[in-house]
């Protein structure tokens, strides 16, 4: 299929789904869900098609290894708001394609996982699809304005999704999450306006901007703005506090989507807009951010140790793992950047599965407090084994995706011989021990040990519930055992960024 | 009698007006103080017109318009104050306290 059309279709389709859902009758839940499911299934197919096509056209030849311009496939541009010379300018490189693939998988699983939603199902699925459309939009856009626009579209529906269908202190959590992310986007806004005007080209086009050598004084203030702005969504310390509350109170699908995909927008933006466009700024600030994200990694892990709520544990582990994403970037080495990208994918799959399982367990036990569970292996072996596996993925067990990513991150961070990088990488590597501690603690007290009698009657996952779990497990193992092709793709995309960084 | 005298006079009137506006408790009184301010402005116009204006006609006409306009304004104000008096039976500015926050 014609590439640009395919790209447009992919991000438009969820909007269409939302529009189609509007006329459906309030009470006709089944139809609403089926529409969403089918729509997103089609989208999944489309994205897979796109990926296959992309693998066909992507080349990792030496020319790519030398060039410092990201090679966007299926580029297509048409003027939009001419007064600010804003264009609808789309195209994808390997990172965006993989991210879209991740999104497609996660949302498909998410919709199955939220099959139980009964309350105002219509609004729920409409908002969910709008959110997804925003996410796809961010990944396809090359124009900074549209990127920002989609970014906000992706952030906002979260408020109602959490506030309306969440649990616990949902209003507080939703408000906090939304405000912190929007405040972050305030920084981004200033940053991209700065890029627009300071470049002297009056353009939002990433490719043109990437070739501009911005003045150091400008990058000195603009880079941290952009990096922090996106970093908030990447849960960078100390702006991560929305994540535990938000993820804890969000409904299953939303946690999956948010932790699995949305948090990746942060890392994506940091890489695409921050480091790619402002390399000198990156060099100026990297040590600061290196320290921050190292704190992230350790702090998230230690924070998870003492939590008792399953979702809080997962949220803190997300903080730690997303820290690893940025940690890979801040290493400023080729392998580090690559590792960061791989970690985005791996963590996306992993944490999505984590929240999915938590949702199912919660739906049965009606508690998320770890200490109140135990012995679930006896009554629900499938879920329990899946839980153990995803836990092991979390602590970076080889043959699961986590190891591939973390190995790249660590090798990359170690490849930077500066002393501070060394110290930070040592600390980060040691964090895997802490990870092991909380993961095993959680898994043990959840699936092992004697079972409480009130759980004896619980049933294992239904066939429908098994579908997302199996899909995600398959992806985890697939990426863990045969990482070759993904790494090839990512190499192709990371080389230009890295070369630009080192220009 | 120079320009500065007149300007100072107008400013003094303005100050008096402001003082009145800030201190009078009776609404009518406040309105009168406002009138004083307006007239100060008029004096300004006249003075500028007389001493340094290129086309002094404009400066001379302006106060007339001002008087007319302020007359309507006062009329409206009085009407409103009357209806206000109907409600509260007081003309005390401190009675205007229901709307706040």
């Amino acid at each position: 299929m014609n590439g640009p059309f395919l790209l447009t279709l992919i991000w438009v389709l969820p909007f269409i789904i939302a529009l189609v859902t509007i006329p459906v009758h309030q009470e006709n839940h089944l139809r609403i869900k089926v529409i969403s499911l089918l729509g997103n299934f089609v989208n999944l197919i489309l994205v897979i098609l796109l990926t296959i096509q992309f693998i066909g056209v992507s080349n990792t030849s030496s020319t790519v290894q030398e060039s410092n311009v990201s090679l966007f496939q299926y580029g297509y541009k048409v003027a939009w708001f001419t007064i600010m010379n804003i264009e609808y300018n789309i195209g994808v490189d390997a990172i965006s394609v993989l991210m879209m693939l991740l999104t497609a998988i996660v949302i498909f699983c998410g919709i199955i996982a939220s099959w139980e939603v009964e309350k105002q199902a219509k609004e729920f699925f409409i908002l969910l699809n709008v959110l997804v459309a925003g996410v796809y939009g961010v990944f396809v856009s090359i124009d900074l304005f549209t990127l920002f626009l989609f970014y906000e579209i992706a952030v906002l529906p979260m408020y109602l999704l959490i506030g309306l269908w969440g649990t616990g202190r949902k209003e507080y959590a939703a408000m906090k999450l939304t405000l912190m992310l929007v405040a972050g986007s305030a920084f981004i806004l200033a940053g991209i306006l700065g890029l627009y005007f300071e470049s002297g080209l009056n353009t939002f086009d990433l490719n043109q901007l990437s070739q501009v050598r911005f003045s150091d004084s400008f990058q000195y203030w603009a880079f941290p703005l952009v990096f922090l702005g996106f970093g908030v969504l990447g849960a960078i310390f100390p702006f991560h506090t929305w994540s535990p509350d938000g993820h804890a109170s969000a409904p299953t699908a939303v946690s999956m989507l948010h932790a699995g995909v949305l948090m990746k927008l942060g890392g994506y933006g940091c890489l695409r807009v921050g480091m790619y466009l402002m390399p000198e700024g990156a060099h100026m600030w990297m040590n600061v951010f290196l320290v921050l994200v190292t704190i992230n990694v350790l702090y998230g892990a230690f924070g998870a140790i003492r939590q008792t709520d399953l979702k809080y544990i997962t949220a803190y582990s997300s903080v730690s793992h997303c820290g690893l994403v940025l940690f890979g970037f801040t290493a400023m080495t080729f392998t580090g950047l690559k590792g960061g990208v791989l970690q985005m994918i791996s963590h996306g799959l992993m944490t999505a599965l984590f929240f999915c399982l938590i949702g199912m367990v919660y739906g049965r036990t009606h508690t998320r407090t770890v200490s109140e569970m135990g012995g679930l292996m006896k009554v629900m072996p499938f879920l329990s084994i899946a839980f153990i596996i995803v836990g092991l993925a979390g602590l970076g067990l080889p043959s699961l995706s986590g190891f591939v990513a973390e190995a790249n991150v660590f090798v990359g961070s170690f490849a930077n011989p500066a002393l501070i990088n060394r110290v930070c990488s040592v600390l980060a590597v040691l964090s895997i021990v802490v990870t092991a501690v909380y993961v095993l603690r959680t898994v043990n007290s959840l699936v092992n040990g004697p079972i409480r009698k009130q759980y004896n009657t619980l049933i294992d996952a239904s066939p429908l519930e098994k579908v997302p779990v199996i899909i995600l497990l398959f992806c985890l193992f697939g990426m863990g055992i045969l990482p070759g092709w993904i790494i090839e793709l990512v190499n192709g995309a990371v080389h230009p960024i890295f070369n630009n960084l080192m220009r | 009698m120079t320009l500065s005298h007149c300007v100072i006079l107008s400013l003094i009137l303005c100050a008096i007006g402001v003082y009145g506006v800030l201190t009078r408790r009776n609404l009518i009184g406040i309105l009168l103080s406002v009138e004083v301010i307006l007239n100060g402005a008029n004096i300004n116009f006249a003075a500028f017109a007389h001493f340094r204006a290129v086309d002094s006609v404009a400066g001379a006409i302006f106060p007339i318009f001002v008087m007319a306009v302020s007359a309507c304004e006062m009329a409206v104000a009085l009407a409103i104050i009357i209806s206000m008096y109907r409600r509260k039976r007081r003309l005390d500015v401190y009675n205007l306290e229901e709307l706040h926050g």
Partner: protein, 474 residues
């Protein structure tokens, strides 16, 4: 001569309705209503038909050009929607605020007021501006006190008129000083003076006096004190009218002043404008944080909006004109949509946050419109508000005021907080008792809401509007 047609038509319409009511002496008839909205609609069409690329000056003091016409469009639309809004709001059978005596006078006053605004945006000298401004202001005093039975209304108008006349005094002083140094009332003369002797203290004094006076109408920070009380006390349609029209006319005048006669002093004005903007948006947002009454809330939110708008005036002439006009359209659309919903509630209940509860379940469409409106006001894509704010910020950023942009963007985050509070009331919080559906929407409201909502969406998505405005400004 044809560029003056709108003015004449408006005058004719006004007096026709008035006289009609004189000899037909049926004050409650709907005729005046239909006449006025029809007339306004026709007027709008007429405005659209006029050429926007030429400028004509009539008897020295009155000029008509593209931007003026654009502003006139805003005024006409605002008046039109006020009329449409007032009809269902004032039809008897609601709460005690629902009754309206002297119906056609009400419409006439609105039209007259609009005429005054026309005069302001077309003025070429201080006298015309003064007359126009007074003509645009004094009717508002009357309107805000229109319900003589309602103590709130009367108190509001009392406060309004007294503070208003004080500001008039300041304005006059400002004019007098400007006249003093320019030696003439014409803008050209003032421009010449501003060009030749920039730091003439008398000139600066005059400018500051004028700024204070306009700041009053524009609800800039230290001069905004009247706004919450007046917005809260006046009848809802009047509040809407004040919040859109009277603000727009003030902005128009400020634009004309800053980029017309005072253009040479722009460097001197920039910091003042920025400080005023920063203070205003902060105060507005902070004030709105803890409100419970809808109209008072709207007052603070519109104060904040004024702050954003002023910020753009630090930019270049072209950017400022186009972005501000564009934003005014967007702002008007969102505001009226919200006021329509408020008036729906106010028809029967108190116009408070609480009254919104349960809307998401009982009136999903209405709630969706509310949500869109709030997002548009909060500047969330893909709605028009986002594009509008973006252009305002860009205008400031172009001059390198990035810190200001960050500050403003953070402010709009705060504003998002209280807009989301409204959404929360409408969607999340469960009403204590499920209310029986009181919110009936008649055809007028349905159509208006539809028009406004689609405006909010299409302004944000289609570039034609912004392009047209930029073309006109250019």
């Amino acid at each position: 001569m044809n560029l003056l047609l709108p003015e004449f038509f408006l005058l004719f319409l006004t007096f026709f309705i008035l006289s009609l009511d004189l000899w037909r002496n049926k004050s409650q008839s709907a005729l005046s209503f239909h006449l006025s909205w029809g007339g306004l609609l026709a007027l709008f069409v007429l405005l659209l038909a006029l050429p926007y690329d030429q400028e004509q000056v009539y008897f020295g003091g009155y000029t008509v050009n593209g931007t003026a016409l654009l502003f006139k469009q805003i005024f006409v639309l605002s008046a039109l929607f006020t009329v449409l809004l007032s009809r269902p709001y004032f039809t008897p059978g609601g709460n005690r605020r629902g009754t309206l005596k002297y119906r056609s006078e009400f419409y006439c006053i609105i039209l007259l007021c609009t005429f005054g605004m026309f005069a302001v945006v077309s003025a070429k000298d201080l006298l015309t501006v003064f007359i126009g401004m007074e003509l645009a202001t004094i009717p508002l005093y009357i309107l805000s006190g229109y319900q003589k039975e309602d103590a709130f209304s009367v108190e509001a108008s009392t406060k309004y008129i007294i503070m208003g006349s004080l500001s008039t005094g300041l304005l006059l002083f400002g004019y007098s000083f400007l006249y003093g140094c320019a030696g003439s009332l014409g803008f050209d003369a003032i421009a010449a003076v501003a060009q030749s002797s920039q730091d003439e203290p008398l000139l600066k004094l005059g400018v500051l006096f004028v700024f204070a006076a306009i700041g009053f109408k524009l609800t800039l920070f230290p001069f905004h004190m009247w706004a919450p009380d007046v917005y809260d006390g006046s009848p809802t349609p009047v509040t809407a009218f004040i919040s859109v029209s009277s603000k727009s006319v003030a902005i128009a005048f400020l634009l004309i002043l800053v980029y017309g006669p005072l253009a040479p002093m722009h460097g001197y004005l920039q910091p003042i404008l920025l400080i005023l903007a920063a203070a205003t948006m902060t105060v507005g947002n902070l004030g709105a944080l803890r409100q419970l009454k809808l109209r008072r809330f709207m007052a603070y939110s519109s104060i904040a909006q004024a702050g954003y708008i002023i910020m753009a005036m630090a930019g270049t002439s072209e950017a400022a004109w186009s972005s501000i006009i564009y934003y005014l359209f967007v702002y008007a659309a969102a505001n009226y949509a919200l006021f329509f919903i408020i008036s729906l509630i106010g028809r029967h209940g108190n116009e408070e946050f609480k009254s919104l509860q349960g809307m998401g379940k009982q009136h999903p469409v209405l709630a969706a419109v509310l949500l869109l409106t709030l997002f548009s006001l909060g500047g969330i894509p893909p709605l028009a508000g986002f594009m509008g704010k973006f252009l305002l910020f860009a205008a400031a950023a172009e001059q390198g005021f990035y810190a200001m942009v960050v500050f403003a963007a953070l402010n709009s985050t705060i504003s998002l907080y209280y807009y989301l509070l409204l959404a929360k009331e409408a969607y999340i919080i469960k009403p204590f008792a499920v209310k029986n559906n009181l919110l009936q929407t008649d055809i007028v409201q349905k159509v208006s809401l539809m028009v406004l909502t689609s405006a909010m969406i299409f302004f944000g998505l289609l570039p034609v509007f912004s392009n047209a405005i930029r073309a006109t400004v250019h």
